[in-house]
Symmetry: D3
Subunit: 283 residues, 6 copies
């Protein structure tokens, strides 16, 4: 069993309050107070993510959790995910929020695991990573889902690693930038983008921890790696490739003896997993 | 020019703060203070959404906005969206957040408009609608993007319209539910889901404003409409169809003389539009 | 038993924190730690509202709730409302906040029920409604209290129904406004204000769901209704009357075969119900 | 010109956001973008309060303030209070919130000044005070309005003065309580409630700054004051009377050579002042 | 056992969230899920403060509290403060925050008690007080720690007592200022700073409750007190001395028959108490 | 000129609101509205920090900033730091908050720079670092002040670097822990604590980026470095020393060819710098 970061409870509650600023008028007008049980079911094959958040919310709102699965588990279409019992009004209030959390997070986790497995088949040492191209305000949820799927989370934010990209290089030379970053702090990794093999060499010589090969063709990646090796630097740096890599082109990169493949699509083009919540009337 | 709801500024600022809880260490270490200009460009054809939010954020953080487009405008790949001038550190701090907002919102708006136009070609009176299957915490952003794309926003939350669905019907008879809702308030519309033509009739007779035909085949929709007409009720109710309708099956429903087609995919399966921000060094 | 919307716990807690930004110095200096029981008693006849909020707060702060009444119950002067046991310091910290919540909400509920009953005696189908003239920041509390008293809540906010009033009509023709609103969304009711019988007719013909007759004399209301009937539109629209209607003039409108009477005074001129909290020393 | 505390801007903004969680659908659908001017007018005689808050909100939302009055000014029915120019959508978004703020605060200020003047006529040294019986969450607004009306604000919260009341006295002897409070801090005044003249004497001897005579008849107040004088303590303490004093009985207390009369009704039974906002179409 | 104000739970939680915006990556990657026990130990002699906050946080995050000490208790180096059992990940997440709270608050309490005892030895009636020179955002924590140490808390904020200082006196005569404050409210004490004995007399005659002798030498304090006595005012006012008084000079003031000595250093120059948290593996 | 992270404005405003929950009663009662100028002056030699925050707050509250210094500048006692003009009430409201921010941050920056210079004299490559022993809730302020003083900021939080300490090693072998962390993410540095030279070797062999030598004597540090060198690992890892190092013992470590010396005292034992704000009456 692995551990993942926790989403603060007040964020989770805010998702419910967003969906009912003045209450759930349908249940209030229509449903008599009663206890019932509800079951959330997978309506497609999926890697489960978001369950910890669902449990947290249900418990906060007073529901009793019955049998439940685990984040990271793989489910087949039709399998039961979690069962809860309590006030019908509470279940109806939470229904859409629970499904939206599970749907987005499981959607991310499912695709991530699928692609990670594709990559591992080619290259057991390679790993895909998430990016900062997450939904605004959902950085932690999206990164957690990618973690559950098996990706390297990459930087969480602008505060936790140095990454020198094109826009920085308009303003400062990349090797100079790496040196300044090195002088800045010893506790944060330094990565810099290279557009050519020569730039990659220059950056490695300046002391970067990671070289980002952005928008390079597989051929150029091979050439760059060769130049680094020829200069005895391949073992001193890690290599990340990125830039419009899709499911189709993934394996052309995976097989190249690189370390990481970062994929914006993991979080910027999410297809929610399909799940449903069904209420069963108490006898 | 149309008007759309405003996202509260503190939400927008929170997106930036999420991306830099302890500052942007790359710029701080690497980039000397200087003024520069940046341009956001479409990297694909798109319907623009999120620009009001981008302008708001840029101005709050002290950037000067230059030439800019309008929310709802259609752009070709390569066209310039907005130009801003100010501190390089500020632009680098905002870059990813601005693109994430524009990317998600324009992604939603672009697909919405495309599908709405498909539908209108079949049936000028029909309209697609968004659902509550939005990213958690992003209800207003997602609904606004769908509005910009041309959809009917549907309910914003559980507080603004009554919708009696399967889970309510486990707990109360649908016609009884409609009557209770009618007694609850006069100021909120009442919609109820029907699984069969007979149920649709019963609900219409109970006084619902809108009948939701969920997961019905086109043939069943025709049959239901016929039964309502035969009972003189077609003009008294509006008809919404929903349930797993995809881009492929959309036109089979659009042509059926219904009023609304609600599509969860507009917001639960978003592919961000592709945009980039490029810094130009001040001479 | 009816259901009502819940006030978010953090709002309730903020009421307590507002009353003690740096603690309760009286209890801290003066009262030795001890357990005691307190009883809240009605000091006038009242319809109880706010009890769910009181229970929520007491439980959050660790008090044990004993015998208690129900929101919506009618109490005579001197009757006990709720009994709680726990730390004397906690009870003293909460005392004023609990009474302020119960006092305002029961004040609103009591007057609402009284007026609703007056109206029903005249016209069993008519109902009074609350307005948006609530205390700033207390929209949900005030609406909930009015609901408990038996009113129709009317719009909760600007987001949940269309209401075209005088200030809109300065800027757009009312019938044109109704048509635009109709094109905007199918899921929100459309109401428009009419100053004359002719305007009411025009608005009804444009497709409004509800006609608001604002500041009309009873005679004008009768005339307007007649004109609508003559045009076969009375059954297609609902009629709300409003505008400075007081307890004294209420019945002149109630008897007119209208649907709703909206009363700003329910929430803009509140007389708190009188309740007291008494501590009993533990033996 | 006097100064009053400022309400934090984020509180004021929250009042607007409460009224439009998903935008103002009426204006969005119905009103074409345009600039206009609006005027707020008194519809009754009033003492103005809440204007600083209105100005703050209007400026935050980008409106230009024209001619305006001052908090504390007395207005006759029909007089103009403030004039603002800007986006019609913004004015319509703010309208109800602005009126709710002005209405409540001016309602409190108007009644406060009226009662304070009644008291001063009887006894120029006496002054009425507000209590903590304010609307939950609106402590500062309500106290500020009472200040503008001319009342002594009394304690703002449980943190800024010691007040030993009935419920404390169940748990500790009042003279002992005063001594403990005296030992607690030198920087907060100490007031204690007395039910009899003898208790008042005991409390004064224990060193209280203020004696609260709660629910005493005018005769008992006279007797208490006499006993304090006889013991040379009248000049050492201040006297507050309270407890169900109404407009009718106010003068029976005002004339008694007491210092303060605290009136819960100033804030727990507010009748909003009547004001209106009218939009004028730009030519 | 004494009572102290409570720090709102959401503040305490925010301290934890500040330390882990995206989780605790060390534990997540490295530590297998397991239950363990941890003990917090004093690594120096100290007066304990912050324990209530530690207990509150631990319980909120699901830890079970074992044996524990009390706020205000004196501990020798090596003594155990509190013991907790639960998820190893939770304990590691909280570790630094718990120690930072205990360290700062116990640091303040320890020094406060030490200095208060110094003063009492000289003058049993004198007492030291905290000031508003606290860490920004930590007013309540710092004041509470000083209270636990035995200081008079002094004003908590600008809202709870009047203090007329040099900067006010540039703008208004001190005696006039005292009179205006007296007219402002009866429920807040009035203190004014005096630079000379004559000013002190003038302020006392104007009716101040407390005279602040700021930056006076011991000789000038004696002279001032004498002048007040000669005018029969010593018993009518309290005397606070302040201004750069250090541990070394404290007793020169303590012996002077003054009432309070305010010391900015209690909170503006804090040396955290040294404590450690040690995890013990469950067998 | 260097760049530093920005403290979010709403945090800064919250510091002011904490100091005036119900306004500044002294100014309100005592000071007539007027414009004035105020000057903040150093009352000791200091390295300035917190000025950006002061400017931000002053501008937000409407003051005009005149001549001002820069964060990081060194000032002698008596030098002017910043000058501001505007409402006297606003300046008085902000005074204490501004000084508390400047005092704490400049206190940290001043000591940091002093110690960093001590270290550099011994060893130009060595650098001191801040720790997570900051005041609760002030992580970013404290780290920013240390950055301005010239320290390496070290980890900002538990989310941005892996640090395996004693408490982790109770639960998992250190070399195994390093390997797991390496498998966790490529984008965060990995540091592990060693108690002996052998442990240091084991950790270096496992692939840590940084070795933390905690509570080692200078002699043990030398021995450890030698063992690492003998195994060809000195150049592959960075060395941090920590553990109760004081101003007195600092140079014994600085001269040892280590990379970083982390000092809890920079932020856990802060002596605020002394500054004053003086108002000058406008003529």
């Amino acid at each position: 069993m692995k551990m993942y970061p926790e989403i603060p409870l007040e964020r989770l509650i805010s998702f419910v309050e967003e969906d009912a600023p003045f209450g759930d008028i349908t249940s209030e007008y229509v449903v008599p107070p009663q206890t019932c049980t509800a079951v959330i079911t997978a309506r497609q094959d999926l890697v489960l993510a978001g369950l910890a958040e669902v449990v947290r919310l249900c418990e906060w709102y007073g529901l009793i959790i019955g049998k439940k699965s685990t984040d990271g588990a793989e489910h087949k279409k039709g399998e039961e995910i979690i069962r809860m019992t309590g006030s019908a009004h509470t279940i109806l209030l939470l229904e859409r929020t629970l499904l939206n959390i599970l749907g987005r997070m499981s959607g991310i986790a499912s695709r991530t695991r699928y692609l990670q497995q594709l990559v591992e088949t080619e290259n057991p040492r390679a790993r895909i990573c998430a990016t900062r191209k997450t939904a605004p305000g959902l950085r932690l949820l999206d990164k957690k889902a990618a973690l559950i799927g098996g990706a390297d989370p990459h930087r969480f934010s602008l505060s936790d690693a140095v990454l020198i990209k094109d826009n920085h290089r308009v303003l400062v030379q990349p090797d100079e930038a790496v040196k300044r970053a090195r002088a800045g702090s010893m506790y944060h990794t330094i990565e810099a983008e290279a557009d050519t093999a020569e730039e990659a060499l220059m950056i490695a010589q300046a002391g970067a921890d990671i070289i980002l090969l952005d928008n390079m063709s597989p051929g150029m990646v091979i050439e760059t790696r060769a130049l680094l090796s020829a200069n005895g630097l391949r073992e001193k740096v890690l290599i990340e490739v990125s830039g419009g890599i899709t499911e189709e082109t993934l394996n052309q990169y995976a097989c190249l003896n690189i370390d990481r493949i970062s994929l914006g699509l993991l979080t910027h083009s999410v297809r929610n997993a399909d799940l449903s919540l069904d209420i069963r009337k108490q006898d």
